[in-house]
Amino acid sequence: MSSRTLAMGQSNHGRLFRQGLRYAGPLARHALLLLFVAVILLPLIWVIASSFKSIPELYRVPTTLFPTEPTLTSYVFVLTQVPKLPLYYENSLVVTSVSVVLAGIISSLAGYAFARLDFPGRDQIFWGLVISLFLPTSITSLFAVYELTDRLQLLDTWLGLILPYTAAALIVSTFIMRSVFISIPGELQDAARIDGCNTLAVFYRIMLPLGAMGIVVITILNFVNIWGEYLLARTLTYENARTLPVEIALLQPQTGEWHFNTVTAAYMLMFGPAFLVLVALQRWFLRGLSEGALKF
């Protein structure tokens, strides 16, 4: 390579510099990427590390990132002193699971209809739904939803959260499911029809199994969004149906014995398991997101 003949006007210096730059390029690249890895990971490490600190070590100046004497006292504290923790867990789990399942079913049915069934107004309705996503009315609608939930006497109940969560998740999920069903060849549907299946049977026996990938993706997507939803949960619940995210935001540093180590221990307990599960499933999640993004 270095014995390349020089054309007129080319100098050797530039080429050597460029060859050096060839290594500088990847080096700089990874340095940059690693910098942001640190930016992303440091806060998370800080939380985890702090949850294992003892109180004197917590407020020592200058602070340290990692505890020199790790302890589990804060975890014990949270587990024994927060009687409502299982309640919040239960609320979050129930509300999220039911919403996700409901959204999956409804969006599959609707997605299939938009993709493969024929009825007047089909496309207009669909694009009307999509357009509604872009209306900047989330804040004002919140007020009306609160009033509606109150009128239905669903404030501070599971159903009071499940319904709006499902409704919110439906449009994007339907969009994705429709894309999934469109990509399934129509001949399969025709063949099944010839064999005597009615629409529901076609849906149940053929489309659903083939569309299972899409269902998995929207399930994970919806789970992540609903599990961590704050605004609606805070507005529509008080104590009985309170979910984890709202509780977390209310754990103030000043309230009595809640120091940073206990607060972080609480975070770990509340969100650790779900977080680990999601990281394990993240490959599906990323795929779903890129598919959704591509469609947009």
Partner: protein, 310 residues
């Protein structure tokens, strides 16, 4: 299914839409979706819109009167709303460029990483905050911003010695809103990077090869091939991010000192749920005022975007 014999006539006569039996199945399949959509999307919009023309107070619903544009008048003249709108713009101006440029730089670098596993590892790490519930992220940063022992000052002052003073991030009127904006940037970095990676991935590699054969440098490749081809996705992302103008949640959990983070979105929420008689009528007017302004933004962005496409 098609009536072959009548096709000719049909093209001459206007088609009358008849709902046949087989159509009912389709309607049945979308019925649940439509029911929920109407209940939780259509109805709230209509209800809150009509609400904005009344003096509806949630704690005293009796005696609600129709007051026409009085709410809107009050909102336009209110110093809180005006300040809130300005804060919304400031937030948008800080967040959108910062988020997009950072994500672009990282995506460009990440796209060139040839080691498949390493690239995947980077992506996963960047994506972690997106999996976390927003509330957790905001609460986390609230702690991190604490001047005395928070992580931000610990790193910037104690470890790296980049600063000599310990800034009061959320506690200082000038730094509060940018601090909140940076929280959001951090939170969605992985998501933005992912979207850009998808866009970068759709660029034909052969273009690069051809240019390299012609002797182009890496920088030239990026400037003349990558960036122009990325422009459509980049601009779409920017338009979509305009919605942060209406931000509410971060400052609800991690507020700045005094009124420094009272964006109009937050203020509307405050008026409806947190303050006084819960004046939802007024709050709705604020909301629609902001929505109107946001639509104007989006429209101009879209016009600009369209021109560029040509």
């Amino acid at each position: 299914m098609a009536n072959v014999i009548g096709t000719h006539q049909r093209t001459l006569v206007r088609r009358r839409v008849r709902i046949r039996g087989e159509h009912l199945v389709g309607y049945a399949f979308i019925a649940p979706l439509l029911a929920m959509f109407v209940a939780y999307h259509v109805y709230p919009i209509i209800r809150s819109f009509t609400m904005s023309f009344t003096d509806f107070k949630y704690l005293h619903p009796q005696g609600t009167h129709f007051i026409g544009l009085a709410n809107y008048q009050e909102a336009v003249q209110s110093p809180y709303v005006q300040h809130g709108l300005l804060l919304g713009i400031e937030y948008m101006v800080i967040y959108v460029p910062l988020a997009m440029i950072l994500a672009l730089i990282i995506a460009l670098a990440l796209d060139r990483v040839s080691h498949h596993f390493l690239a995947g590892a980077y992506r996963t790490i960047y994506y972690l905050p997106v999996i976390m519930p927003g509330a957790v992220v905001y609460v986390l940063w609230k702690w991190m911003y604490i001047p005395s022992f928070g992580l931000v000052n610990y790193v910037l002052v104690d470890t790296l010695h980049l600063l000599t003073i310990r800034p009061q991030w959320l506690g200082s009127p000038d730094l509060a809103l940018p601090s909140v904006a940076f929280m959001e940037v951090w939170r969605f970095l992985g998501y933005n990077v992912l979207l850009l990676l998808v866009g970068l991935g759709s660029i034909n590699r052969e273009l690069y090869e051809a240019a390299r054969i012609d002797g182009a440098s890496e920088l030239q490749l990026t400037w003349h091939i990558t960036l122009p081809l990325l422009k459509p996705i980049f601009l779409v992302m920017m338009v979509l991010k305009m919605s942060v103008f209406a931000v509410v949640e971060p400052m609800l959990i991690a507020p700045g000192v005094g009124e420094s983070t009272w964006t109009w979105g937050w203020y509307a929420y405050d008026q409806a749920f947190l303050e006084g008689n819960l004046r939802m009528g007024y709050a709705s007017a604020i909301g629609y005022l902001g929505a109107l302004i946001m639509s104007v933004f989006v429209y101009f962005q879209y016009r600009f975007f369209r021109h560029d496409r040509a």
